[in-house]
């Protein structure tokens, strides 16, 4: 069965991509229910993407090639990053089992491309969104890396597959405080990276409150579709990352069809749980003022720092 492993890796990568817009639809539906509405269909994001792909692409007359290239680079980086996360079994398609530094690097590449695309629009909104995003991402990078470093030290491996494998081998009684601290830190950072409330409101177009939306304001048609898809893949990637590192139970120990099917079911359940959690947070909390976000990320940094310190203090 030498083809089973690469096929399973390909399957889990395709799953992550296919499920991304569905996740968005699920969050929208859950939020609507929380607001006592019925909400749109779960599959509406797919229809939206299809609609955008058919439209005309408007490009500012002062823009250079970077404007057209940015969505392509952003989506490409996200697509490759999705191949690094173990979903159904503790292995990944690329980068030696999903090296976490490569993952963070690819997320940074996607974000850098987006920043440059925003600059090239030549409008004030682009610069504004880019400057706010630069602040948030500069402060979010440290807790993201430190949280993953803490787990990497515990697991003795630098790859996400290795971390998932190690966690699978732990019985619940041995749950170290490092895990709790790192999980909380990474949860806070995931919300910041994905651009959800309380850091950024993905449904607003008010000048005072936009971050991600301001960066993509000048894009339209197929380019906008690429950027929306990239954002959706980023969210599902982050949730899958949290599930793989902190709640991997249910993953198949070997790529047999039966176990993989069970793992698929459990993964969808975990994603749904994550979606409902995000929807509840978005419905109950208000967005933070922009200059309160550094305090929020400072809390995440302190938690991540403690997680790394505790790997040495609790032995």
């Amino acid at each position: 069965m030498t083809l089973a492993a690469p096929l399973a890796n390909l399957a889990q990568w395709a799953l992550l991509l296919a499920v991304a817009p569905l996740l968005r639809g699920l969050i929208q539906r859950a939020k609507a229910r929380a607001q006592n509405r019925r909400g749109a269909s779960l599959f509406r994001p797919y229809a939206e993407l299809a609609k955008l792909l058919r439209k005309q692409d408007l490009v500012p007359d002062t823009a250079s090639a970077v404007f057209r290239a940015a969505p392509v680079v952003s989506l490409a980086a996200m697509l490759v990053a999705a191949a690094l996360v173990p979903v159904l079994w503790p292995a990944a398609l690329l980068a030696g089992g999903g090296d976490f530094l490569v993952l963070v690097g690819l997320l940074a590449l996607a974000r850098f491309a987006l920043l440059l695309g925003a600059w090239d629009g030549g409008s004030a909104f682009g610069g504004m969104g880019a400057s706010r995003e630069a602040m948030v991402s500069a402060l979010a990078e440290a807790p993201l890396l430190l949280g993953l470093v803490a787990v990497a030290i515990l697991a003795g491996s630098g790859s996400l597959a290795g971390m998932a494998q190690w966690t699978l081998g732990q019985t619940l009684v041995h749950f170290s405080p490092v895990y709790a601290l790192a999980a909380t830190a990474l949860g806070l950072v995931a919300i910041a990276e994905a651009g959800r409330i309380p850091v950024d409101n993905p449904a607003t177009h008010l000048e005072l409150t936009m971050i991600h939306e301001a960066m993509v304001l000048e894009y339209s048609g197929p380019s906008l579709a690429l950027l929306e898809l990239a954002a959706a893949v980023k969210l599902s990637l982050l949730l899958a990352l949290l599930a793989a590192v902190f709640f991997p139970w249910g993953m198949a120990p070997a790529p047999t069809p039966a176990r993989l099917a069970l793992a698929l079911l459990l993964f969808l359940l975990k994603l749904a749980a994550g979606a409902v959690a995000i929807a509840l947070i978005e419905s109950t909390l208000a967005k933070l003022r922009m200059y309160q976000v550094p305090a929020y990320l400072g809390l995440a940094s302190a938690l991540a720092l403690l997680a790394v310190a505790c790997t040495a203090l609790i032995r």
Binding site: L101, F112, E141, G158, T311
Partner: protein, 676 residues
């Protein structure tokens, strides 16, 4: 002593001689005929040959040695030993010099032609080879005298280049500060060398290598501290960095590229040579000192760069940041070695050396790009640039590669260096140095801030609309300048996608410096994580290329076409360049978050005075004196001046007082001789 190959010695001599004699042809650069490209062409050829020599030493490990003290005229002129040896460490840095120098020389051919005329052009073409020669001497020296000779020559030649570029009181003041600080640093390095003399009969590196580990700990600590002060000041570590942002921007662009790219690395070379080779490693306190200095430089360097509007000063501060990262990795290597984890120390040292090469490549690319921009738009202020990517597509593309590399994004060489550094820091957890993994957080913060900084540089400089008429009329750079930058950009991408070819020779270099690194079973010469990375990267590059193709296909699949139209301005009929974000505005949130670092002086006055409610004019002035100048340098300088004033009272002018002091000195010397 490995017997050195006489052909290699001859090659080294020929290379150095070529660099020495090229200034004689500098006058040709001023002619109008085709001969004017001769100095540049010959310099590039000489550097390529030198690079080939260095590569041979690096790959095969056979050293090239040249003993000039036996040569009669040298023995008469300077009775100190003057030996040059290229071992693997020297060869690596020499390769770095040639790899950066050749593209810079190519670029300089067009740049110096456009900017300077007459005797200035010839003078610069004379200075360039000599400057490269001085740095090559420093790298190849294997006696204290040769090292110091090259060191001083480096400082003097670069100061000369700075003064050649123009004449103004500010320029002279900056050059003066540069000379003073470099001489103070040189004094520290000289003192470090001389301290060896109490235990070693001569200052030949081979002799010092044996005597160093045998010295008592107090003496080794003293040598290390002096070396750190001397090389740290040369490298621009905080708080000894004052000269860097003053000196680098005022030199001509090719010179700035060489100073930032190569000269700073000679300081790294000196530090590695002293700590690992001549002293043979030391207590973990040394490593932690380097780590602290490196971390402070990294964070503060990038924060100061964020606050800059002048592109060249920004790049100078960014050099401080990158040197901070290199010293963090060096410190981690020392700590890991002190904790008896030579394999991980090798990884950290590998990261430091590779990051030095990477920084040399992309920083010189960026400085050359800044030169091209200044040439085309007649300004390097970010508030005067913009829209240059459309006017200068190739230059813009190459500068973009430089920005991607300096931020450390995947598929560029910056990513490889930072990946190795991260792994080196994480290794501290298993080796009993729990502080080291926390450095991963510091490096991540530096990385994030650098991304913001260089998104700002490229965005404000090249994207959007031109903010000044000159920027709107910019022309593409001449072919030679583009070719030089392209060579550097290609090197950045090559090391980023296929670093494997460098890893074996670097691994051998590092293994020679860290005894025990290669002796663990299964360790091999290259640390396992490095090999793993080299295996990952090509497939990653392929994956990104395929994914980009897929994204393009998806976009073009059912697209309704592309239409160029004006940017929507919320109903405004006319969009002016001033409606865009400026560079200062982009960094404003980050500068507000890190406000305690900047401590700018604000002055706000409204006129007429005393009538705050209906002013006729409002003036706002904000000036930033770097807090180090205020709190560290000025008090230090003041203390020295006060002490000098007090000592000046000894000069009474009375002849008998002077005779008495000479007599007292003689008696004191006789007593010391008697007691010793």
């Amino acid at each position: 002593m490995i017997a050195a190959n006489p052909w290699m010695a001859a090659a080294l001599a020929a290379f150095l001689l070529a660099l020495l004699l090229l200034p004689l042809l500098a006058g040709l650069a001023d002619r109008r005929s085709r001969l004017r490209v001769a100095p540049a062409a010959l310099l590039v050829l000489a550097l390529l040959a030198g690079g080939a020599l260095a590569a041979r030493v690096l790959w095969t490990g056979a050293p090239a040695a040249l003993d000039l003290s036996a040569w009669a005229p040298m023995a008469e002129a300077a009775p100190f030993a003057f030996t040059l040896t290229l071992d693997r460490l020297s060869a690596f840095f020499l390769l770095l010099l040639c790899a950066v120098g050749a593209p810079v020389a190519l670029y300089a051919q067009a740049y110096l032609e456009r900017h300077y005329a007459g005797w200035r052009r010839a003078a610069l073409w004379a200075l360039l080879p000599l400057f490269l020669l001085s740095m090559a001497l420093v790298l190849a020296a294997s006696t204290g005298f040769a090292f110091f000779f090259g060191w001083e020559l480096m400082t003097l030649l670069s100061a000369a280049a700075m003064l050649l570029d123009g004449d103004s009181p500010e320029r002279r003041h900056n050059t003066y500060i540069y000379l003073v600080m470099m001489h103070a640093a040189a004094a520290c390095v000289l003192a470090a060398f001389l301290l060896f003399l109490s235990r070693a009969p001569s200052l030949d590196f081979a002799v010092m290598r044996v005597a160093g580990p045998a010295m008592p700990l107090a003496l080794r600590n003293a040598v290390f501290v002096l070396a750190l002060l001397g090389f740290g000041a040369k490298a621009g570590l905080i708080p000894l960095h004052l000269w860097l942002p003053k000196a680098h921007p005022i030199a001509p662009a090719p010179m700035s590229a060489l100073m930032s790219g190569v000269m700073l690395k000679t300081a790294v070379y000196g530090m590695v040579r002293f700590s690992f080779d001549l002293l043979g490693g030391g207590p973990s306190g040394w490593g932690y000192a380097l780590v602290a200095a490196g971390a402070a430089s990294g964070v503060l360097g990038v924060l100061y760069a964020l606050g800059e509007n002048d592109l060249k000063r920004l790049l100078a501060y960014s050099s401080i940041e990158n040197l901070g990262i290199i010293f963090m990795a060096l410190g981690a290597a020392l700590v890991l070695q002190a904790h008896h984890a030579p394999v991980w120390a090798a990884l950290a040292l590998l990261a430091a050396l590779l990051h030095s090469l990477n920084h040399a490549l992309y920083k010189s690319l960026l400085f050359l790009g800044a030169g091209a921009v200044g040439d085309a738009a007649h300004s390097v202020e970010l508030s005067q640039l913009g829209g240059l990517q459309r006017r200068m597509p190739i230059t813009g593309g190459l500068v973009l590669v430089g920005c991607l590399a300096i931020v450390g994004l995947p598929l560029t060489n910056g990513f490889v260096g930072e990946w190795l550094a991260f792994r080196g820091f994480i290794a501290g957890a298993g080796a009993g140095a729990p502080v080291l993994p926390l450095l991963a957080g510091v490096l991540a913060l530096i990385s994030g801030l650098a991304a913001a900084c260089f998104a700002n540089v490229y965005g404000a400089g090249f994207l959007g609309r031109p903010r000044s008429p000159a920027a709107g009329a910019a022309e593409e750079a001449p072919r030679a300048m583009r070719a030089g930058m392209a060579a550097l950009a290609a090197a950045c991408l090559l090391v980023g996608i296929a670093p494997g070819f460098l890893l074996r020779p670097l691994g051998a270099t590092v293994a020679a410096l860290l005894p025990g690194a290669g002796l663990l079973p299964g360790a091999g010469l290259v640390p396992a994580p490095a090999t793993a990375l080299a295996a990952m990267l090509p497939s990653l590059a392929l994956a990104v290329a395929l994914a980009a193709a897929a994204a393009l296909a998806l976009r073009a699949w059912r697209s309704g076409g592309v239409r160029r139209t004006a940017t929507w301005g919320c109903g405004q009929p006319l969009m002016t360049p001033r409606m865009q974000y400026s560079a200062a505005a982009f960094t404003e949130p980050l500068r507000t978050v890190f406000a305690p670092v900047y401590r700018a002086d604000h002055q706000l006055e409204s006129q007429p005075d005393g009538q705050a409610w209906y002013p006729t004019a409002v003036n706002y002035r904000s000036a930033r004196t770097t807090s180090f100048e205020r709190s560290f340098y000025r008090p230090a300088v003041q203390a020295v001046v006060n002490a000098a004033a007090r000592l000046g009272r000894l000069q009474t002018g009375n002849v008998q007082m002077y005779l008495a002091s000479i007599f007292l000195a003689l008696i004191a010397l006789l007593m010391i001789m008697r007691l010793a």
